[in-house]
Symmetry: C2
Subunit: 139 residues, 2 copies
DNA sequence: CTTGACCTTGACACGGGTGTCAAGGTTGGA
DNA sequence: TCCAACCTTGACACCCGTGTCAAGGTCAAG
């Protein structure tokens, strides 16, 4: 498919698709007229890229992660895997875990705060009018 | 404490501290000579901000989250809490959960890939020399 | 009093991800 | 044949979080 269809199906702009390709996140072949030609795998890739960017990762990190994110049952490539690659992936995995921890702690804090607000609201509702200042003068 | 000490203790630049203050993430009073004056709470704040920025959140989102991230046993403020605030916080909580899900899925994919690589390496080690091409000629 | 370390505000620059526009090539249908 | 819709590359501009530099104020130690 050409870039327009890919972008429409993925819900992104063609600008973004070209940027992802220039960043080495996706690949295309070229039609005889020099138009980019993408396969279905590229579509899934773009959706994955969107998810990861929205989750706060940079294109550099995403590029490092791509070998792990093979689609359905694509065969794993063992050939060009150097110990450095493995070490880099382990670092990225740990950095992901760190992010997850931070976000989880803070999400829980938000949830706890909301729960506290709710308890307060319920208690206020149970005690009808304990001298509540509403900003409006009492007649 | 003044901005230099705060920055040094938090491990950030004074530029960053000023930016966080200009973004409404921290507050300071002013000394008679117009120098900024920070308390210990600000230090904890800056550390929290660093965590959240490193986790991929924007200063806007962090600002929305700040009311929930009260330090030790600070009393909860119920006063200026409008239903809109609550709704916004619930949205942010859900967005955090989404991020956490995405990152967790992908971290697990990386971990699975690494495990696969390890299994492959172990198997290769167990079978000493099954016509391995090492790039070097066999004497 | 002078020096040096610290502070102030203001500005310019950069990289990352994106929007938008220009100037031109290709193609299918009226 | 010509138009409209699609594609190409290239550029300029934006926002965000930082770095860096300039020009100047404050203060303590020598």
């Amino acid at each position: 498919m050409r870039i327009g269809e890919l972008a429409a199906r993925a819900g992104v702009s063609t600008r973004q698709v070209r940027f992802y390709e220039a960043s080495g996140l996706i690949t295309s072949t070229r039609l005889p007229n020099n138009y980019r030609d993408y396969d279905e795998v590229a579509l899934g890739r773009v959706e994955q890229i969107r998810e990861l960017l929205a989750a706060g990762l940079s294109t550099q990190v995403i590029r490092a992660l791509l070998p792990c994110l093979r689609s359905p049952r694509a065969p794993i490539v063992f050939e060009g895997v150097t110990p450095e690659t493995v070490a880099a992936l382990e670092r990225e995995r740990d950095r992901l875990s760190e992010r997850i921890d931070v976000l989880t702690r803070n999400r829980d804090a938000v949830a706890a705060y909301l729960a506290e607000l709710r308890r307060h609201a319920d208690r206020s509702a149970a005690t009808p009018a304990p001298a509540r200042r509403t900003g409006r003068a009492v007649p």
